[in-house]
């Protein structure tokens, strides 16, 4: 992989980011009431004060000038102030990133640890009863509403069995590792279900293609066992097509995180999004949308680069 290729791909993300910023700006700008709507209901804010605020924020300027002012501020890291807390949007978001990364990281781990063996199992026994059952299970997995699964798990493990806390990041006055694991295990399982279902399918088909190759037969002929062939020869190549899917699923994971964090009262950015929805905190919502979009673009970029790096047959240009 050449530096030129990486550079070209990085350049390619600029129009995407501009497009997204334009759409987000247009939505907030042309929404009923506009950004000052929150103050309009407030009797202690006079009409003169409103005009003054409008002038101070440049809201009396034409739309395209406002857009450029806003864009300039976004680029230098000034994402505005939260209407609910009055603190800078970027600071608030960064504060809430850690729980989301913990949750997402564990869900990613679950997904890989479960999906890879399931995919391999399916691929090595194509057409068997087990393969059929796993196919059905993955269909069910992608068709299960995340929020419903979350409710069912809460019902089973918290209400009926009483094994796990139904929500929250940790118990008050208890920050032990065990306590935190008990809190994170259900949301992480819920968040990983859809990705397990989809990745195991792609690993199955990737593995099935690879296992038909001549070099796999050669590896068997050299005396490797099934496990050895899969681990040493097949897995790496079988994972290459799956990598693109892992990146594409990043958007699904973001949507899933919003739901999961809300149901389990997990204090990450997904829950922050819902709190901001309830408080009509538009600067915060804009910031979070921007963050999510950048995440999706970055995931796709990383996948493309990894794809090119892992498979020397792919020519990039």
């Amino acid at each position: 992989m050449t530096f030129a290729y990486v550079f070209k791909r990085l350049l390619g993300t600029i129009p995407l980011l501009l497009g997204i910023s334009l759409i987000l700006f247009a939505i907030v700008h042309f929404a009923p009431g506009g950004p000052l709507d929150v103050y309009a209901d407030n009797p202690s804010v006079s009409k003169e004060a409103l005009e003054q605020i409008a002038k101070a924020y440049g809201l009396d300027q034409p739309a395209y000038i406002q857009y450029f002012l806003w864009l300039k501020a976004v680029i230098v890291g000034n994402w505005g102030y939260s209407i609910r807390t009055g603190r800078p949007v970027l600071t608030e978001i960064l504060l809430r990133l850690r729980p989301t990364f913990e949750l997402g990281g564990l869900a990613l781990l679950f997904s890989l640890v479960v999906a890879i063996p399931l995919g391999i199992l399916s691929a090595t026994r194509r057409g068997s009863k087990l393969d059929g059952a796993l196919t059905l299970a993955s269909f069910a997995g992608i068709s299960t509403p995340v929020f419903w699964l979350a409710l069912l798990l809460q019902l089973l493990f918290s209400v009926q069995l009483g094994w796990l806390p139904s929500a929250g990041y940790q118990s008050i006055g208890d920050g032990s590792l065990f306590d935190r694991l008990a809190h994170i295990v259900m949301p992480a399982a819920v968040l990983s279900l859809a990705t397990i279902a989809s990745w195991s399918r792609f690993i199955r088909s990737g593995m099935a293609d690879v296992l038909n190759q001549d070099y796999i037969r050669t590896a068997y002929a050299k005396g490797h066992g099934l496990l050895g062939v899969i681990m040493r020869h097949a897995l790496r190549n079988a994972m290459i097509p799956a990598i693109t899917v892992i990146a594409v699923d990043f958007g699904t994971v973001i949507s899933g995180a919003v739901i999961t964090e809300t149901v389990f009262a997990w204090p990450g950015i997904g829950r922050l999004f819902m709190e901001s929805m309830d408080g009509r905190d538009y600067p915060m919502l804009m910031g979070l949308m921007m963050m999510g979009s950048v995440g999706i673009i970055a995931a796709n970029l990383v996948a493309d680069l990894a794809y090119a790096a892992l498979d020397p047959r792919i020519r990039y240009g």
């Binding site: 509403p145 009509r280 673009i297």
Partner: protein
Amino acid sequence: MAELSLGAVSARPQQSYARRAVKRFFKRKLAVTGFVLLVAMALIVIVGPMLSPYAYDDQDFNVIGSPAPMSPEHWLGSDELGRDALTRLIYGGRISLCVGLAGAVLATIVGVLVGAVSGFYRGWTDAILMRLTDVMMSIPTLPMILLLSGLFRPGPVILVAIVGALIWMGTARLVRSQFLVLREREFVEAARALGAGNMRLMFRHILPNAIGPITVAATLAVGSAIMLESALSFLGFGIQPPVPTWGNLLNSASSWLSTAPWLAIPPGLCILVTVLAVNFVGDGLRDAMEPKE
């Protein structure tokens, strides 16, 4: 030789592509299961409300106050306002299925138009439309629909428009790739030579040849649309109570989870069964329409 092979072809019983596809579709167990489930679901939500003795917002004052369990009067129990859970479930299914179906139809229309124009005209038109598609694909769907719902407080019609506007991109990419290939084929050249205009070439000659993958994409879009609307209503946006949808039924059930778990299970099960059936049908259509020879 040419005559001989022509004779061989015409000797075979004439069977259209569509008929063969339908035949292949109904040979698949999962596809048929999905199809039957969907038909049953449609019948239930159409006929059900006519048979139910309750309207979706009728209150039974004998069981008002907190959710009541299943009983001969209320087969699936009733909610805290004394409303019959089964009636609300079936009526909610009407709304969820309608929004899902309409959203998918809209997404397919937009996707086909964008993809067709992009793949047919290529060049700058293609570049601009595909960048737009990329941009839309980079925006997280659920947060976006939440944001739009929060800002515009949409009714069902606008909601369908929003759902459609957020899930057309996959179809557009698919249709574009089909058009890029098909526009180079001889039959398009022939039609052009006979004087067909661009519109006619695109929609009368090329589009019918891409109908297989489009049908599959449209089917799967129904599943996405139902899921998206349900998630939105579950989070308290989208269609508002007292009008029930599967999503907002689950939303209200979640506050009674420990005391009335029987309210939380049926709506989710309905979403699962419907989306599963849609995915079975979509998968069956894919195999039926693009046979791997």
